[in-house]
Amino acid sequence: MSGPLFQTQQLFVAFGGLSALTGLDLEIEQGRIIGLIGPNGAGKTTAFNAITGIVKPSAGRVIFRGEDITGFRAPVIARKGIARTFQNIRLYGDLTVVENVMVAGHSSVTYSIFEAVLGVGRFGADERRIRKKAEHLLSLIGLMEVAGERASALPYGSQRKLEVARALALDPILLLLDEPVAGMNPSETIEFRELLLRLHSDLKLTIGLIEHDMGFVMSICHKIKVIDHGIPIAWGTPHEIRHNEKVIAAYLGQGD
């Protein structure tokens, strides 16, 4: 496998006549943390949705580990090793915290429904393995004390963390985080940053993230892509992005 771990080539997404994303080229090399930023409505979440198969790209290609995965269905892409979190937290509210993480273990289940119904064969071993792994991830992320609570009863910051734990249960190679620190206070953000860096090095993750908290993005990302109105306008290191005139203009508006 040569070339980057993950690549989009001229990715377009259009909803009817509205083009939400216009020609996104994004490369993520193995082991990197990449930021995707831009003003509200720039098409960042649309890009994530197109990559993970939640919306169908209208044109372009998505290549992951040398394989063209454009237009694959969301569960297939998830099983290939791209996990994500959602901007508007989408937990399974009525399930417990540990069950939320265990759901992501379903793709690794080897027992059939008949084994499940009879409680024989690989059922017991598989269930133990999935639960153990979920509990391990919860303790890694610091939510083990609330494992038995309903997910919807958790405070906001913990729900964000739970989304990450659930995504990690897929054993992802590439983890996509959609505004992971939105709504967190500064100390929570710093704590989350530490957690993310620890996961990045411990689990050998490659991470792509969308975020509006510039301090967070600049301090954690190796490279940053900026898009505005669906159009990519800049690509570079945090330092380059900070001094890019187009980026400043996009965020602050252009004077005469």
């Binding site: 998830a78 989408r90 399974y92 009525d94 265990m102 429904i113 059922f123």
Partner: protein, 381 residues
């Protein structure tokens, strides 16, 4: 900690096994001492539990609103009836038009016919699920509602198979308490085990948030199809049991009212709770029989009540309205029965602290407040 969890599991298993033993003992007792009417009611309780629990799997657990149990019940009843009737019976019943050839000669035992009823129903459900679950939304409700009507029309017009609107008469009353309650127990065990497996978690994830479930590698289409087919199997078996309980089946019997009743049961029980479905099914059948007394004339405190046929449905509706007003999530919400829950409840009942922690704080406040008020009065005095 682990060993503690293991002993709890063993304890729960022993308790469950003894509960089943007590239930079987009760059935044996009922079978040998109860009158025919009570036995019939008990049979219906078992059949309604099977139907409610399997209907809850697709509507409550997987969250896919469907309206088909009457159709599956009909298919199951017809399939098993066609199989258990002997060639001689069939020749006698089909006097408008003789029965189509291979069917007229087939004859199978009751258990085989029940399995066939389940299999045929599950297969049809699978065929229906494949196009329907390709799209999201309420299509399932519309398609399944239409399917119920189609089944009735087919049953009325496919005379060489179903004997049309005359129906099938003279089925041997195979269904007894052992069959109905035995299958009821098997159904409940199967569905509870399925719900508590990874497949069940995937079903609940699809209910809670389909997009997020897909993003976690769950093929929502297959999970929905699985839940639908699984519930159809047991609904078909229940149809076979019902046919051999009432011994006469006709297309008109399996109207939409069945589906409506089951919908009421699973909503009142708590959508998504298997325990709730069981409790509500028992209350529905037994309560429905009990409320028959308002249909008949009686005298109370000198007032002569004339007895209005259908009055019990008014009572039923009133109870339903009350449930929807004051206990919107049903009897159980989405909670399930557990031995630990039962022990906690009895402990609290003994302590007289039914509302738990919250109740305790309310009680505490009431005491504090009354102490305050009494203080005020003392000062004035």
């Amino acid at each position: 900690m682990i060993s503690c969890a293991r002993t709890t599991v063993t304890r729960d298993r022993i308790l469950t096994a003894s509960a089943v033993a007590v239930l079987l003992l009760f059935i044996w007792f009922a079978d040998s001492t109860f009158d025919a009417y009570s036995i019939r009611v008990l049979n219906f309780v078992a059949i309604y539990i099977i139907l409610a629990v399997s209907y809850n799997l697709i509507n409550g657990v997987t969250g896919q609103f469907s309206l088909e149990p009457n159709a599956f019940l009909a298919i199951g009843a017809y399939t098993s009836a066609i199989l258990t009737l002997t060639p001689k019976d069939k020749a006698a019943i089909f006097f408008i038009k003789p029965m189509a050839w291979p069917l007229s000669e087939i004859c199978a035992s009751f258990p085989v016919s029940l399995l066939a009823a389940g299999a045929v129903t599950a297969f049809l459900a699978f065929l229906m699920a494949v196009p329907v679950f390709r799209v999201r939304g309420d299509y399932l409700a519309i398609v399944t509602l239409g399917f119920g009507e189609v089944v009735q029309v087919v049953a009325e017009n496919l005379i060489s198979v179903t004997n049309g609107s005359l129906g099938l008469k003279g089925l041997y009353p195979h269904t007894n308490l052992w069959w109905s309650w035995g299958i009821c127990i098997i159904t409940v065990v199967c569905i509870v085990r399925l719900v508590n497996s990874s497949y069940g978690r995937a079903m609940k994830a699809v209910r809670e948030d389909e997009t997020a479930a897909q993003a976690m590698g769950i093929n929502a289409f297959w999970i929905k199809t699985l839940a639908f087919t699984f519930s159809a199997f047991f609904e078909g078996v229940a149809g076979g049991l019902m046919g051999h309980l009432i011994t006469t089946i006709s297309p008109k019997l399996f109207g939409f009212l069945f589906t409506f009743n089951l919908l009421v049961i699973i909503v009142v029980g708590g959508l998504g709770s298997t325990t709730g479905s069981i409790i509500a099914a028992i209350l529905f059948v037994v309560g429905g029989e009990f409320l028959r007394l308002v249909d008949e004339p009686f005298a109370i405190w000198g007032y002569e009540y004339p007895g209005i046929p259908g009055m019990r449905m008014v009572f039923f509706s009133a109870i339903l309205i009350l449930v929807m007003l004051f206990a919107r999530s049903g009897i159980m919400g989405r909670n399930e029965f557990s031995w630990r829950g039962l022990f906690d409840l009895t402990r609290r009942l003994i302590r007289g602290d039914l509302l738990g922690k919250h109740g305790a704080s309310v009680g505490h406040n009431v005491i504090a407040l009354s102490a305050r008020i009494s203080q005020l009065f003392r000062r004035r005095g």
